[in-house]
């Protein structure tokens, strides 16, 4: 600020002289050569009253009106006004200037005084804060994150107004230079976890990040597992409650989802809506989601096992019905099931990729036509249609979309196991699944917490959601440092 104060001329000369060497090196031509070939890099010379000023910016990142209001108008009328909110670093080098421009700021270069001022003018078109389609809820807050890091952080800071909410920024992506922000509650979070996150992020050498899910996969403890080991959510209320529990949230610029770590397997089945429902309803729905996952994995394989290997397990009447329904089907049950499961996959995939209106039509028409026609053509039994449909629906019960995708992948393992060895194969597959879940870790914390290693209090918020007055402690997954927030000193 002092540069512009006429009374402090001496100070101006002092400060410029200390950084003279740096500044002398940087010329407009050098910046131009750095930004050569970028069409929207704009260099504009403006002759103000007494001197020539050059402003440099990326026109694609800055709205014209913002530029006019914050830079051009003050330059022409009241230069002091401009400098009041401009950042005039004492020392600056060429790389800093270029990265500042890339970030969407405007550089104002005063030729006579040889000073670079930075004005924050970043104002690209952004989507507004609206509800989320992927994680919608009936009750509770309806806002969702957007693609802007600043907006997303503001959504959290609006919810947690506490000075111990800290964030640490990193740049990831060797080519894209994407900004990410690691957010945590300083007095609660486990410092070891924070160190692990830091180490993992620093170690990542990946050219580009379009979404946080890529970072999530790169940070996985077990990258070959089909199960997601971190939670990605687009809901600010969910992130806020996880932060309060001592977890770490990672925000990424240009990504709508926010990553939570560490998490437990049970938390993949929790929806923020559970907190707003009565505990009874919430527990019921959560139990349904949890067991739905396992049920969805075993329904169709059991059909294969029972029909291929253990028909004696069914009561006579049920077996009779099933045989009647399957009577004309010429294929063995495993082919029948694989055929129907693949049809469902195709329908789902086609439905997702098509424009929404056509997608719906495909879903309904395809479902009905293929469903009934396949039975009439004796390709599959109608009992199987029901089972496949139920298991497909069950797989979507989980609020976590990545988990429901892994659910389908796991189901094929069970189908093959059941086809080969019946119930025995299924049990071995189960042993594999359980043991796999037991060995998984999320940021070094066992994934199957609270079951193993146990922390009894965690059961109150696992498959069931106990009333809030029972659930006073932070969860064991977070492994928190302190339980109480520091008192806020209130003025008289």
């Amino acid at each position: 600020m002092s540069y512009w104060n006429g009374d402090n001329n001496e100070e101006v000369t002092n400060s410029t002289s200390t950084t003279q060497n740096d500044k002398v090196l940087i010329t407009i031509a050098m910046i131009k050569s750095k930004l050569y070939g970028i069409n929207d890099a704009t260099f504009k010379d403006i002759q103000t009253g007494e001197e020539l000023v050059t402003i440099i910016y990326f026109s694609s990142l800055i709205e014209k009106l913002t530029l006019h209001r914050t830079v051009i108008l003050p330059l022409l009328t009241q230069k002091e006004e401009l400098v009041k909110f401009a950042d005039v670093p004492a020392q600056i080098n060429l790389a800093d200037i270029v990265s500042t421009i890339i970030e969407g700021n405007t550089i104002v270069y005063f030729h006579t005084k040889n000073i670079f001022a930075i004005v924050n003018t970043y104002s690209p078109p952004m989507s507004s804060i609206i509800g989320s389609d992927t994680e919608s809820s009936v009750i509770g807050p309806q806002d969702a994150f957007t693609e802007s890091l600043q907006t997303n952080l503001s959504l959290i800071k609006r919810r947690i107004q506490n000075t111990s909410l800290k964030n640490k920024d990193y740049i990831v992506g060797t080519e894209t230079n994407t900004k990410i922000s690691v957010v945590y509650m300083e007095h609660i979070v486990n410092k070891d976890n924070l160190d692990k996150v830091h180490k993992k992020i620093v170690d990542i050498k990946h050219p580009g990040f379009n979404d946080i899910s890529i970072l999530e996969q790169l940070m996985d403890d077990h990258p070959f597992s089909p199960i997601p080991q971190y939670l990605a959510t687009v809901r600010p209320d969910a992130v806020a409650s996880y932060l309060l529990d001592g977890r770490i949230a990672i925000f990424m610029n240009n990504s709508q989802a926010v990553m939570i770590c560490p998490i437990s397997f049970f938390e993949l089945f929790t929806s923020p809506e559970d907190a707003y429902n009565r505990w009874t309803t919430a527990s019921l729905l959560r139990t349904l989601r949890f067991f739905g996952f396992f049920l969805s994995v075993i329904l169709t394989p059991t059909y294969i096992s029972v029909l291929t290997h253990h028909p004696e397990m069914l009561p006579f009447n049920a077996l009779l019905n099933l045989q009647e329904s399957r009577g004309k089907v010429p294929f063995p049950p495993i082919l029948e099931v694989l055929f129907m499961e693949l049809v469902i996959e195709i329908l789902r995939e086609a439905g997702t990729r098509m424009p929404s209106k056509i997608g719906q039509t495909i879903g309904i028409v395809g479902g009905i036509v293929i469903g009934t026609a396949a039975v009439e053509a004796s390709l599959v039994s109608n009992v199987l249609i029901v089972i496949v449909a139920i298991s497909a629906l069950l797989s979507f019960l989980s609020p976590n979309f990545t988990l429901s995708n892994s659910n389908r992948a796991i189901r094929y393992i069970f189908i093959v196991a059941a086809g080969m060895f019946g119930l025995y194969g299924q049990m071995i597959a189960f042993a594999w699944l359980f043991h796999h879940l037991l060995t998984l870790t999320s940021l070094g914390t066992p994934f199957m917490t609270p079951v193993i290693p146990r922390k009894w209090t965690d059961f109150l918020n696992s498959v069931v959601r106990a009333p809030f007055f029972f659930d006073k402690r932070k969860s064991g997954v977070a492994n928190v440092q302190s339980k109480k927030a520091p008192p806020i000193e209130k003025g008289e």
Partner: protein, 359 residues
């Protein structure tokens, strides 16, 4: 993951490692093995529990003297390198045969009950692969699997309801209706049902709270004995003496008595669910065998694990004379009884040995 850390087993791990390794296939046939005692057999599991608990004390005492060594290392320290290593080689061979015996008897059951008219090769291979997968995670991984297996299979206790309701409580009396010979036969055949806890000598160095290991291991033993007792009790109530003598797997027949409107032949479900218990038992033995081979060859390599599993596969699959194999699998459990008293001998050697040469 946990392989790098040394002390990894907490108290829950110890309880369930002891408990779950004890439950193998023998519980299914226990009432038949005890049949020489007729109806008086029902309290035998409690006696076995007492024996196991008494035998456990010298094991823990010895282990506490050598806190960072498993039994293989203790052998070398107490008996000298050559004798120690020879005993260790014998022990590893014993483990291989025991794993083979457990796998073979289970797979044969699967073949009889669930996968009729199928060769055992496929089921055996996937069973062994699964065991390798569990053991690869280290002893903590085995312990975690044990806890999981316990809670998943606990539901099978529910099937006792039918046997209990339809059984005859008067079968319990008279209690002491047997002679010494019958008692000896029953003990000889039945004591193997509590075998498995002796593995604590091998994973003892990995226990965090070693002082309380005795308490936790005893808890595990009695948890297992309680379950074994329940199964024997209900079998005695439900079956006649003739049936107990002639049904090889009475507990499996108890499964068959379950009457549900939507499912018949619960035994198929029960016996396939049993794979969790088989996996936890064999995984623990395999882990111990791998440690043994590591200490014999003085290097820890994952190849040792595969060598042992291949040996197990060969023992089960190579067309021995069937009679010999049967005899081997039957007799190998007597070695287990030697394992029970072996620590007592080692304790004596430890006390006799001059102090300066102790580990």
């Amino acid at each position: 993951m946990d392989k790098d850390k040394f002390k990894v087993l907490n108290r829950y791990h110890v309880v369930f490692l002891v408990q779950n390794v004890m439950v193998g296939t023998s519980i299914l046939s226990l009432p038949n093995r005890l049949s020489s005692m007729g109806y008086s057999q029902w309290w035998m599991p409690l006696l076995f529990g007492v024996i196991a608990n008494i035998v456990l004390i010298p094991m823990i005492w010895l282990a506490l003297k050598y806190r960072d060594d498993h039994l293989f290392a203790i052998h070398e320290k107490l008996l000298g390198k050559w004798l120690g290593k020879s005993i260790n080689i014998f022990l590893v061979a014993y483990f291989v045969v025991i794993i083979a015996a457990v796998c073979a008897s289970y797979i044969q059951l699967i073949q009889v009950v669930a996968l009729v008219d199928r060769t055992i090769t496929g089921p055996l291979i996937i069973l062994l692969l699964m065991i390798i997968y569990i053991v690869n995670g280290g002893i903590k991984s085995v312990a975690r699997f044990c806890i999981m297996a316990f809670f998943l299979t606990l539901g099978t206790v529910f099937i006792l309801k039918w046997g209990f309701v339809e059984g005859e409580i008067s079968h319990m009396l008279p209690i002491f209706n047997f002679n010494a010979q019958e008692f000896y036969t029953a003990t000889k055949n039945g004591l193997m049902a509590v075998g498995g806890f002796e593995l604590i000598s091998f994973y003892f160095p990995y226990i965090i709270d070693q002082r309380k290991a005795l308490k936790h291991a005893s808890l595990g033993i009695w948890l297992c004995v309680l379950l074994t007792f329940l199964f024997t009790f209900v079998s005695v109530m439900f079956f006649s003496e003739w049936q107990l003598k002639h049904l090889i797997y009475p507990v499996l027949n108890l499964f068959k008595e379950v009457e549900l409107s939507f499912l018949e032949r619960i035994d198929v479900l029960g016996i396939t669910l049993w794979v969790f218990l088989i996996l936890s038992t064999t995984a623990a033995y395999l882990w111990a065998a791998k440690r043994g081979l590591d200490s014999i060859l003085s290097t820890a390599k994952s190849a040792h694990l595969y060598m042992i599993v291949i040996a197990v596969y060969l023992v089960v699959q190579i067309p021995f004379m069937q009679e010999f194999q049967k005899l081997l699998f039957e007799r190998i459990f007597y070695v287990m009884y030697v394992m029970f008293v072996w620590p007592i001998l080692l304790c004596i050697i430890h006390v006799m040995k001059p102090k300066r040469t102790r580990g």
